[in-house]
Point group: C2
Chain length 189, copies 2
C-alpha cells in the first residue's frame, strides 16, 4: 500500500497515537488503513462413501487437488460462502452440514473453514472456470501427495479418522476440529 484509497495522497507506515502496531496512515487526510486476516471457506462434499476434490485451474498450486473453497465475500455468512464456492468450483449440489474444521494460518493472514456437506446428487461439473478437473475419491484413492494446501490435507486426515471412529454426524453437537498451522520448514531452503 502506497496511496490513500480515500484521497489518493501518499501513506506512511507508522504507529498511530494510542495504538501499538504500525499501520498505513494517510499523510493528508489522516485515515488509518487497517489490514486484517481473511477467511477462506469451503466444504467436504460427501456422496455415499466418497468425497469430492477439485484439481486447481489457477495459481497458487495450479494442477494440485483441493476441497472446494475460497475467500469469504461481504454480505454472506461463512456457510453461505462455503456453499457458493462449492457450486462455483465443482458445480455440485449440496446441503451444508456442521462446521468441521477451523485452521488458523496466521503467517499468511488467513483462517480456513471447512463445513461437512451432503451432495444431494452424484452429479457435478467436471470442468469449471476455476477447476481443471473434479472427481470423487475414497481414502485409498485420494492423491495424498498432490494435495494443494496443508489445511486441506489436515482436514481430510481428520475426516477419515473421524469416519473410521464413527464420529461423523450431521449435527451441531459435533465439536469443530481446530489447529494453528505454522510455516512449513522445507529441507532444501
Amino acid at each position: 500500500m502506497k496511496y490513500c484509497s480515500l484521497c489518493g495522497n501518499s501513506v506512511e507506515f507508522k504507529v498511530p497515537q494510542d495504538d501499538n502496531r504500525s499501520r498505513f496512515i494517510c499523510q493528508s487526510c489522516g485515515e488509518i488503513h487497517y489490514q486484517n486476516p481473511k477467511n477462506v471457506v469451503g466444504t467436504i462434499p460427501i456422496f455415499e462413501q466418497k468425497i469430492l476434490l477439485c484439481r486447481r485451474g489457477i495459481e497458487p498450486r495450479k494442477g494440485m487437488w483441493t476441497l472446494p473453497a475460497g475467500f469469504l465475500e461481504l454480505d454472506e455468512t461463512t456457510a453461505q460462502g462455503a456453499h457458493r464456492e462449492t457450486i462455483e468450483e465443482a458445480g455440485a449440489e449440496i446441503e451444508i452440514g456442521p462446521l468441521f474444521s477451523i485452521l488458523n494460518v496466521a503467517h499468511i493472514g488467513q483462517v480456513h473453514w471447512f463445513y461437512l456437506a451432503k451432495m444431494t446428487s452424484p452429479h457435478f461439473s467436471p470442468f469449471t472456470s476455476e477447476s481443471l478437473e473434479v472427481a470423487m475419491f475414497d481414502e485409498e484413492t485420494i492423491p495424498w501427495d498432490d494435495i494443494a494446501f496443508l489445511t486441506v490435507k489436515t482436514t481430510l486426515q481428520w475426516f477419515f479418522a473421524d469416519r473410521k471412529a464413527g464420529k461423523i454426524i450431521f449435527s451441531d453437537a459435533m465439536p469443530t476440529h481446530q489447529i494453528d498451522l505454522k510455516p512449513l520448514i522445507r529441507m532444501n531452503e
Copy 2:
C-alpha cells in the same frame, strides 16, 4: 474507496472479467481491490461464579457493557487475538479455553468469535484506554438492557444456559455455538 492504494489513480466499481460481483478496479494499473469480512475475537473471562465485562470507552455503543473483543490482527491466530484483546481492554490475566461461539453478522461484514477463558487471578485493570470501567458479574447482576452488541448478549445467554445444564467444560470436545444474525428491525424506524 476512490483511489488505488498501489498507484494512486482513480478506481471504478464494476464486475471484473471472469467474476460475478462488482469490485473496485484501478483504471490505470488494473489492480482489483477485494474487500472481505473481518473477524472480531474475544473471550468470556470467568473467575469462580462470575464473568468479566467492560464498559465501552469508545464508539460505537460508548458507555454500554461488552465482553472484551476486537478486530483480529495480521500475524495472530484467533485465540491469540482474543487473548490480546482481553489484556488490552480488561487488564485481566487469563488462560484461553475452547471456542465457545461463532456469530456471523453478514450485513456488517463481520464474524464474531468468543473463547471461554479462565481468569488466573481475580485482579484486572478497572481503567484502561478502551474501557471506562471493568467489573465482575453473575447472571442476576449483568446489565442485560445495557449490553452493547447482540453477539455479546447471545453469547452470554448461551453461556448461562450451558452452565445451568452443566455443559461448560474446558475441553475441545465442547461443540461451538453458531448463529447467523440478521439486521435488527427497530420498532421506531
